[in-house]
């Protein structure tokens, strides 16, 4: 039996002195990559997935439109359009685009990209109406924001 009892005398503890450093590194990573949400999204957002995604390079030129059923049930069940913090009607999109354009530098105004985050239960009617208004406002670059499709779904 004594043959097997030859334990090594070295300590079996894992050194944890570097643990805080590792944690700090992770912490800094998340602090740097975090973008605190500026707007509260008031519409339902279950976005359909797609495969052929393209990444937008210039983030500054992107403005966001959210479309979906309002979370607040008292507003009905018809899909609404949210721009920044408030709901806007179809007829106000041109005005909203012009406001967003005026925030950009003059030479970049034509390159404004509208990223649309649309709930998957939305009907195409409202999307087409938005597109018509965007054409009217000369904001022709649009993007349907979607998460990446994964293998299993």
């Amino acid at each position: 039996m004594s043959k097997f009892k030859k334990k090594s005398t070295s300590s079996q503890d894992i050194p944890t002195a570097a643990l805080p450093d590792i944690i700090f590194m992770l912490l800094f990573f998340f602090m740097v990559t975090t973008v605190l949400r500026e707007t509260e999204i008031k519409v339902e957002q279950r976005i359909p997935r797609a495969e052929q995604l393209v990444k937008l390079e210039k983030k500054k030129l992107v403005t966001y439109l959210y479309v979906g059923k309002p979370k607040d049930k008292s507003l009905g069940t018809e899909p609404l359009i949210q721009a920044n913090d408030a709901f806007i009607g179809i007829e106000n999109i041109v005005q909203w685009i012009n406001e967003e354009k005026s925030k950009l530098a003059e030479n970049e105004r034509d390159q404004i990209t509208v990223s649309m985050k649309v709930d998957n239960e939305t009907k195409m009617g409202i999307i087409v109406d938005i597109q018509t208004e965007l054409r009217e406002a000369n904001a022709r670059k649009i993007m349907y924001a979607t998460p990446q499709k994964t293998e299993d779904n």
Binding site: Q52, K59, S115, M124, N138, R140, K141, M143, A145, T146
Partner: protein, 220 residues
């Protein structure tokens, strides 16, 4: 010399540092949403004053028609289609058909169908000469248009699914043209001049002509 030191250690106790850092880490983990700036891009046609649809001017065989009704059923080239995934191959064949390649230089790139054909790699040329070249389908990539007409009552989900398939077809064409897979082409970093050059070469003369037609108001 009043140097009465106390015997106790002068170090700050750093044992709980990890706990504090963990707490902060978890806070940021929970509140983070890594910004998703990805999606399917589309360029809308310019605002047209005379409201004349482009389709009328185009020869019907140069338009690949996809229609969706309010029950999310598809009509592709006037034939019902159940499986959306088939659209990718159909569009691929449609764009690269070269049924009647013209010599006229078109568009911003000043490329004709014949010029485009000459830039294709040998594998694509042999595929085209073996399987395509139908007189019933498109004349060539410079005039091919994919028209997607979705009913007002159709769902956004199916629209994205179709748009995804269309983009997949075009990315496959562009990728194969410069010897990449569709995925590699899609991930080209356009801030890198070398990759930008590859991207431009892939797209030269083959416009991504996806037209979202005005939908009918009547459910079908």
């Amino acid at each position: 010399m009043a140097r009465s030191k106390n015997k106790g250690s002068q170090e700050v106790n750093a044992g709980s540092m990890a706990d504090i850092a963990f707490l902060l880490l978890i806070f940021f983990l929970v509140t983070t949403q890594i910004a998703t700036n990805k999606g399917l891009t589309l360029l809308l046609p310019p605002k047209n004053e005379d409201d004349e649809p482009i389709e009328i001017k185009q020869n019907q065989k140069n338009v690949f028609k996809i229609q969706v009704n309010s029950a999310d059923r598809l009509l592709v080239e006037d034939e019902p289609l159940e499986d959306v995934a088939l659209i990718e191959d159909m569009v691929y064949d449609f764009v690269l058909n070269f049924g009647n390649p013209s010599n006229t230089k078109k568009g911003n790139d000043k490329m004709s169908d014949v010029d485009v054909y000459n830039t294709l790699p040998a594998s694509m040329k042999s595929y085209i000469s073996r399987n395509l070249g139908s007189k019933e389908s498109s004349d060539g990539p410079t005039s091919a248009i994919v028209s997607l007409k979705a009913d007002r009552g159709s769902s956004y989900e199916i629209f994205i699914e179709i748009l995804d398939a269309l983009n997949a077809a075009y990315n496959r064409i562009y990728g194969e043209r410069v010897g990449l897979t569709a995925e590699e082409f899609r991930k080209l970093n356009r801030n890198n001049p070398k990759e930008q050059e590859l991207y431009d070469r892939a797209r030269l003369g083959i416009p991504k002509a996806i037209s979202i037609a005005e939908p009918t108001t009547q459910g079908g």
